[in-house]
């Protein structure tokens, strides 16, 4: 063979092998060294579709449904992925104009070109089916199923709370959430968010270059099914709640009813309220704004937890207990009255009577008696100073659940006001004594409590000394799985024997005292009226009661703003609640009718 040609044959083969060698080096770097392409391929072909779990349902204590779910679908858009599409087609499906479509796309782009944006909210089921079929024609758009809350009855709005889209802060705090997810914002929805929301699943779906789905990736090997949220059984008695809301119609105020033996809230009414269905669906934000703007009725405000009132005479019950525990008075301690408690320059007035022992003082709500008892409690010689005496009193009050938050499953409660020694020092510039603050003895002055704190006080009395923190959820997941978070028995710090004179007085209130017109014939009740002074207008009508006295089933606290005397409005409402709950029927139908029709607004 020609040596030149032999040489060239070798050159040719060498160059070919060398070139292929370069290719293999290139392939090695692309396939083995560089991770970039693997990530790109994942994004290209596999779309992780989030499977939203259904939110847990909420039942009342008797298995009646309070909250359930309805499916709805949002059309989401990722502006960066939008390509040319038939706008008329989409406009027709969504029934919007082309201008609107362009406007929405513009908004979405402004929000973020890469993040999903809700292009059309809560599309109905029929439209959804139609849209799903045509979706491949609209690259960059996809449908996100949503859970909408629905309420068989428009009651218990405050306590159930509502859900709404997560805020940007929440997104940052909790990686569970993605833009557009719903989260509990108030009430049970907020307190039990983690139980209700369940666990999101994911589905790996193969998507082709036209954004069409081609079934699951590797037969669903990597799919994680969504875990539905846990159902909740709340302590609310739906019928009682409904009844309470009816009674509170056209009134401002609250009802809180507690089962004393468990701390379970049987009904909790804050009036005016709103229809929970208003805060669901397309019109949520509009309705929300409307409710928010209503500064007269403030329907979103949960008075039962947040509003603080001077508790009035019902507070005397607490003071009567503390004074006994501190050894200042006993059942038979007699204080003369003579029309009031003399402060020297001022008299805390009382109705005209000679005087009373503890039981009678409770019955007739003697101001003089409880002023003196309070004075003697804080000025007790066993303490070095009135400061120490006051501190001892305050510790008792706090132990009775007043002046601090319960921190249970009722979000956004107020602490109330029980001034600290330092507060009083500030207020009186360091110079104060028992009589400076004596109006606290009758539930006026510096003290202010929330309705739920007062209801809890009545539960303590009904239990003769202890309580369970008031809460609204009984069982989680299944009815056999009780909510054990709040089953710690709280000691009130008052010995059981000191409750008897108080309860005896409260019994008399119902038979021969201020509450006698609200008496229930076949149930022995113990009650206490109150009239909370209101500097802004008519006094608030207050009533607290529990019954039956021997085996208490219910403790009720009612406050009707501007209702006047406790006996006139709050007492009938509170006893009607008790009667309805205990007997399941109300015999005092005239009173019931009058209360329902009463308008104090």
């Amino acid at each position: 063979m020609n040596p030149l040609k032999e040489q060239r044959r070798i050159i040719i083969i060498a160059l070919m092998v060398a070139l292929m060698g370069i290719y293999l080096i290139r392939l090695f770097s692309m396939q083995v060294i560089d991770r970039k392409y693997k990530d790109l391929a994942r994004n290209n072909a596999i779309r992780e579709v989030v499977q939203q779990p259904p939110r847990g349902l909420i039942y009342d204590r008797n298995d009646s449904l309070l909250v359930y779910n309805e499916a709805a679908y949002d059309l989401m858009v990722i502006p960066k992925k939008v390509k040319e599409f038939d706008t008329t087609d989409l406009c027709n499906i969504l029934e919007i104009t082309k201008e609107e479509l362009i406007q929405r796309l513009e908004k979405a782009r402004k929000y973020s070109p890469l993040l999903p944006y809700i292009f059309a909210q809560q599309i109905g089921k029929e439209d959804y089916g139609y849209l799903q079929e045509k979706l491949y024609k609209f690259p960059g758009f996809y449908v996100q199923p949503r859970t909408l809350r629905a309420y068989p009855e428009p009651i218990a709005a405050h306590i159930l709370g509502y859900i709404g889209e997560v805020s940007e802060n929440q997104l940052k705090e909790d990686s569970y959430y993605q833009m557009g997810d719903y989260i509990g914002i108030s009430g049970i929805e907020k307190a039990y968010e983690e139980e209700l929301r369940g666990v999101k699943g994911k589905k790996m779906v193969l998507v082709d270059v036209h954004n069409r789905e081609h079934g699951s990736y590797r037969n669903g090997e990597f799919d994680v099914p969504a875990e539905p949220g846990s159902n909740l059984w709340c302590t609310i008695d739906m019928q009682l709640q409904r009844y309470g809301e009816k009674l509170m119609a056209n009134k401002k105020g609250s009802i809180v009813a507690i089962e004393p033996s468990t701390g379970e809230i049987l009904c909790i009414v804050s009036s005016p309220s709103y229809d929970p269905n208003l805060l669901v669906g397309k019109n949520r934000s509009r309705n929300y704004a409307k409710l928010l703007r209503d500064t007269v009725n403030v329907p979103l405000y949960n008075r039962a937890l947040k509003a603080i009132y001077p508790p009035g005479s019902t507070f005397k019950l607490a003071n009567g207990l503390i004074a006994q525990q501190e050894g200042v008075i006993n059942r038979y301690t007699y204080y003369s009255c003579g029309g009031g408690y003399n402060l020297g320059n001022h008299i805390v007035k009382c109705h005209s009577h000679a005087g009373s022992d503890l039981v009678d003082a409770v019955r007739c709500s003697c101001n003089a008696y409880f002023c003196r008892a309070f004075y003697n409690t804080v000025s007790n010689p066993k303490y070095k100073s009135v400061r120490d005496g006051y501190q001892a009193w305050k510790d008792h009050i706090n132990q009775l659940g007043i002046g601090q938050k319960f921190n249970t499953d009722l979000p956004y409660e107020s602490k109330g006001v029980i001034p600290t020694v330092e507060d009083l020092d500030r207020e009186y510039r360091g110079h104060w004594h028992g009589n400076s603050i004596v109006s606290m003895g009758i539930g006026q002055g510096q003290v202010a409590c929330t309705p739920i704190q007062m209801a809890n006080l009545i539960a303590v009395i009904a239990n003769r000394g202890y309580y369970y923190k008031p809460h609204v959820v009984k069982a989680i997941g299944s009815k056999d799985n009780p909510n054990t978070r709040y089953n710690q028995r709280m000691n009130s710090g008052i010995e059981p024997q000191y409750f008897e004179p108080i309860i005896d007085g409260m019994k008399l209130v119902m038979t021969s005292g201020t509450g006698r017109f609200a008496k229930i014939d076949d149930i022995e009740m113990a009650g206490k009226t109150g009239t909370a002074q209101n500097p802004h207008g008519r006094d608030h009508s207050v009533f607290a009661c529990f019954g039956p006295v021997d085996q208490p089933q219910i403790a009720v606290f009612v406050l009707v703003e501007n209702g006047g005397w406790g006996a006139s409005v709050a007492a009938p409402i509170a006893t009607l609640i008790a009667e309805y709950y205990i007997n399941r029927e109300v015999k005092r139908t005239d009173l019931e009718k009058r209360m329902m029709e009463l308008n104090t607004r």
Partner: protein
């Protein structure tokens, strides 16, 4: 095949046959995988599916192979020019009567399927070149033989360009490998390669860099010529030629090329980085291959190729499917298989006593190698995206039959 008719095809090269069958089978499996959808029923001969049609073409190719093996080698040699002329006329007629597919007017429609005659022009040209170089020449003819040879490969290339089929036109440049083997001046080839370098430099940077490089080389050359006037003049002439070339490239790139062509060049040279624009195809192709990893995703488990992310996934970009599902291991094996085939072709060619057979063998090796290098090169971004098939593997009857004929003519020649 060698077993079926042992007497007639006694000397048929078993290695080549095995390589051929292996490549065809790999091709069909890859085509099947790219259309595979577990939710769809599978029918082997489903003509609605590319794998179904490819199977028909494979069977036809087998028949074609037997026919080629049955032809008398003398006839092949004798009628080489005639075959060449006939196919040139055929591809020329396509320019006028052809059907437009994907912007190239390169197809003849017969009933429901189309044929791309240019695929057959490759072996026809190889025959003509083999005949031309093997025939005895006068001294005068020897002087002009390179011009004639370039004309022979230039005719189909120009016709392919007229069909707007740039890829096929470039394929005819593969004959230069043979020309080199047959004694074509290495310096001229080197100059050609240098011209390519200048071309890239001009487009990626600008023409001034290219001119600067040339000037530096001229000055260095000046130092080595040591005052030999003839050499200085020669160097200046070469220098002037290249400078002219640089400006011509610059002018052609900016003024003559259409924007999409310009973009393709830009993409391959790394000038533009718009992943959804001009280099979408290349990007998707690289993602598919790159995501294969070392061992691949497994047969039928590719996602990129199956979900249409890769364009032309069973024709020009079929290598993506192999890269994705079989990974680096599969790519290496496939390239090794091709190299084995090509090297076997060269070794057998060199053994031929008949120069016609030897030259033809080189042509086959050159054409297959060129396809291999350009096709794989483009899928991994080393070569501009030029639409030419991967021999024996890409989907399509015309290319499979063209390559089958090309290869089996050599197998037949070698048999004798």
């Amino acid at each position: 095949m060698s077993n079926s008719q042992p007497t007639k095809f006694k000397g048929v090269d078993t290695q080549l046959i095995v390589y051929y069958i292996a490549l065809v089978v790999i091709g069909w499996l890859t085509i099947y995988s790219s259309a595979y959808d577990s939710s769809q029923p599978f029918h082997l001969f489903d003509l609605a599916q590319p794998y179904g049609r490819q199977l028909i073409w494979i069977i036809a190719a087998a028949v074609l192979a037997f026919v080629v093996l049955a032809i008398d080698t003398k006839l092949i040699q004798t009628y080489a020019y005639f075959v060449y002329a006939a196919f040139m006329l055929l591809i020329l007629s396509v320019v006028f009567i052809g059907t437009d597919i994907n912007g190239a007017k390169a197809w003849i429609k017969i009933g429901s399927f189309s044929i791309q005659p240019i695929e057959f022009a490759k072996f026809a040209t190889a025959l003509a070149i083999a005949k031309f170089f093997s025939s005895a020449k006068t001294e005068k003819e020897r002087k002009t033989q390179w011009i004639t040879a370039f004309i022979l490969i230039g005719i189909p290339a120009v016709i392919a360009l007229l069909q707007k089929d740039t890829g096929s036109a470039l394929v005819f440049a593969s004959f230069i490998i043979l020309f080199f083997r047959e004694g074509f001046n290495g310096w001229i080839l080197l100059a050609g390669i240098f011209a390519v370098i200048l071309f890239v430099l001009t487009i990626v940077t600008n023409e001034l860099y290219a001119v600067a490089l040339l000037t530096i080389m001229l000055i260095v050359a000046w130092y080595f010529t040591k005052g030999d006037k003839m050499k200085i003049i020669r160097n200046i002439a070469i220098y002037a030629g290249f400078v002219l070339f640089v400006f011509a490239v610059n002018f052609a790139y900016n003024e003559v090329l259409q924007s999409h062509q310009r973009q393709r060049i830009d993409t391959i040279l790394g000038k533009s980085v718009d992943p959804k624009g001009a280099d979408f195809n290349l990007n998707q192709s690289k993602i598919a291959i790159g995501s294969g990893g070392f061992f691949g995703k497994g047969y039928l488990h590719g996602t990129q190729t199956k979900l249409n992310f890769v364009p032309e996934q069973s024709t020009d970009f079929i290598f993506c499917g192999i890269g994705e599902e079989w990974g680096f291991v599969g790519c290496t094996a496939l390239i090794a298989l091709y190299l084995a085939l090509i090297i076997r072709l060269i070794i057998l060619s060199e053994k031929q006593r008949n120069p016609f057979s030897r030259i033809y063998g080189y042509c086959v090796a050159s054409i297959i190698f060129f396809h291999l290098a350009v096709n794989i090169g483009m899928t991994i971004g080393l070569v501009p995206i030029i639409g030419i098939p991967l021999p024996f593997i890409s989907y399509g009857g015309s290319s499979l039959w063209g390559f089958t004929t090309l290869l089996f003519i050599f197998i037949k020649l070698d048999d004798n």
